[in-house]
């Protein structure tokens, strides 16, 4: 069923974005988010949109995937837009009874919506172009300096890796358990909320028992391969910053600078 689809929407391709160091991508994504929310006028926003469009173009991710990532957020956007449109004070454009839409409200709604859309699309681009294991490696190495503050960085990374490793396996197992219980007449489709919750027990208990058993066996197997925690461990693959990473950082830096510059030069081009 879900066997052949990797978790986290990773979309394998061989583009520049796919080849960037994951640490760089994570940091640049954060910078992008800051860029979006720092822009205080439309030109700044447009810079953000263009930046995103170029990034997507370079990555080779099909446009359909962008829409896919935005679909779940649509209710949030509509809700936020509505809130902003109807409830911000200012110069009214349209009114009916007690409800009115103001110019400020309209612009705020538009800006907020664009920000959220770009935010989601931007972070989705990160997960589309970076495999879960690369993300884990990136996060682990970014957080590495925090080890001196006793943050269990290695352990966290190991947990994430093992979780990612076992998600497809556990999904398969869940399918099997569901099939086995259905074969004995378990009914998970009918009944009220409570009944359906109860119907999950024959699925969840075997699943949990199995997960604990796997953890036990896996821990033993790891110990037998001389695992002693993070101390003294080396890694076969070390992430290395390359020329292309530096170039992307510079480009992003310029964009942020541009946004700030535009903020300072034309602060209130449009009432926002």
């Amino acid at each position: 069923m879900l066997r052949d689809i990797t978790i986290g929407q990773y979309f394998p391709k061989d583009s520049l974005l796919h080849r960037l160091d994951p640490r760089v991508k994570i940091v640049l994504t954060l910078c992008y988010i800051i860029m979006l929310f720092a822009a205080s006028n439309p030109i700044g926003l447009i810079i953000g949109i263009v930046f995103l469009a170029v990034a997507y173009g370079v990555s080779g991710i099909p446009a359909a995937m962008i829409l896919k990532s935005l679909k779940p957020v649509t209710p949030v956007i509509i809700f936020t837009a509505a809130l902003n449109m109807f409830f911000i004070a200012g110069d009214p454009i349209w009114s009916f009874w007690k409800i009115q839409i103001t110019v400020q409200g309209l612009w705020t709604a538009v800006v907020m919506s664009i920000r959220i859309l770009c935010l989601i699309a931007g972070t989705s681009l990160l997960t589309y172009t970076t495999s879960p294991i690369a993300l884990t490696d990136g996060i682990e190495q970014l957080l590495d300096p925090l080890k001196r503050f006793h943050l269990p960085v290695h352990e966290l990374a190991m947990m994430m890796t093992i979780a990612l490793r076992f998600i497809p396996t556990l999904i398969e197992e869940t399918d099997k358990i569901i099939a086995a219980q259905k074969a004995r007449g378990a009914d998970m489709e009918s009944g009220g909320l409570i009944q359906r919750a109860k119907a999950l027990i024959p699925i969840l208990i075997p699943l949990f028992v199995s997960a604990f058993r796997r953890a036990d066996e896996l821990a033993l197997a790891m110990e037998c391969r001389c695992y002693r925690g993070g101390e003294g461990r080396t890694r076969m693959r070390r992430l290395k910053i390359q020329g292309q990473d530096i170039i992307c950082c510079i480009i992003t830096g310029f964009c942020i600078a541009a946004v700030i510059a535009v903020n300072l030069m034309a602060p209130h081009l449009i009432p926002m």
Binding site: D4, K176, A179, R184, G185, A186, P206, V209
Partner: protein, 288 residues
């Protein structure tokens, strides 16, 4: 009335994606009531997919499945009712146990059937007896039991529904020789007592040779052969070439036949092998 009948049964996974795969390809099958059928095929031959059609867990991509002459996917068919008529024991069934006591777990099926408490009790105890579980075990937690005991509990859970058709997917997987013999012996005894239809899916030709009347050989999503056990084993060379293993005795006799000895074509059990050699030597066996 046929127990199971399929017409052009086809099942394809992940239709329309690049991962599309036809697991079962236009299978026409007729299994009579009361048969004990061994189903063999290597991994990927479609065994597990095929049997999940018989209790309505999977919907055919095309074709029909009829149980006791009822089309499972006709508009008014109550498919859930058929889950109780066609009992399916999956591989490593011990991993599906979940109740507080063995009794309750075995009772899960009968309770879902809506039976009265007395009937549930009767069917649970009968099923437990069939698989050789003693009284004391019924009140224990399934998680306290050994692997072999857990498997029996899981099998009992399906037997307790008193299905007309019992399908077991590799019930001896992971068991040692003693364990295998016990489980298969119990299934054989169950079949004899109940007279229902039993399908035994297995990789082990030896097991099938000893217990099944008929053998269904699957190969690459299709039916390679469906015939009486003796007839199937007489075509051992074909099966061997299809990538499946045959019992050693069958191979040995195949080698003898190659050398020109007039040995019987369908030797697949130890007893028959012994008898056959003695027959050629002009002797009777002193004990069977």
């Amino acid at each position: 009335m046929l127990a199971i009948k399929t017409e052009g049964l086809t099942y394809t996974y992940s239709v329309g994606t690049p991962f599309e795969k036809t697991a079962v390809d236009h299978i026409d099958l007729e299994i009579e009531q009361g048969e004990f059928v061994g189903v063999i095929g290597h991994t990927g031959s479609g065994k597990s997919t095929l049997i999940q059609h018989f209790n309505g867990l999977l919907k055919p991509t095309s074709g029909r499945v009829l149980i006791h002459d009822t089309d499972l996917w006709a508009k008014d068919t109550d498919r859930r009712a058929f889950r109780f008529k066609v009992g399916l024991v999956f591989q490593y069934p011990e991993y599906q146990l979940f109740e507080e006591t063995v009794y309750k777990d075995i009772a899960f099926g009968p309770v879902n059937m809506g039976l009265s408490a007395e009937q549930v009790d009767q069917q649970v105890r009968e099923a437990a007896a069939f698989v050789g579980l003693r009284e004391e075990i019924l009140q224990k937690s399934p998680f306290e039991l050994s692997g072999g005991q857990k498997r029996r509990v899981a099998i009992a859970g399906v037997l307790a529904m008193n299905p007309d058709i019992l399908i077991l997917d590799e019930p001896t997987a992971g068991l040692d020789p003693k364990g295998r013999e016990k489980v298969l012996g119990e299934i054989k005894a169950y079949h004899k007592k109940r007279g229902n239809t039993v399908l035994l899916v297995s990789h082990s030709m030896e097991d099938i040779a000893r217990y099944a009347h008929k053998v269904l050989v699957l190969n690459r999503a299709g039916v390679m052969m469906y015939d009486d056990t003796a007839a199937v084993f007489s075509r051992a060379e074909e099966i061997w070439k299809g990538g499946l293993s045959v019992p050693q005795v069958t191979r040995i006799f195949s080698l003898l036949r190659e050398q020109g000895f007039p040995v019987n074509e369908s030797v697949y059990t130890m007893d028959f092998a012994v008898q056959e050699i003695l027959r050629l030597l002009g002797k009777e066996a002193s004990h069977a």
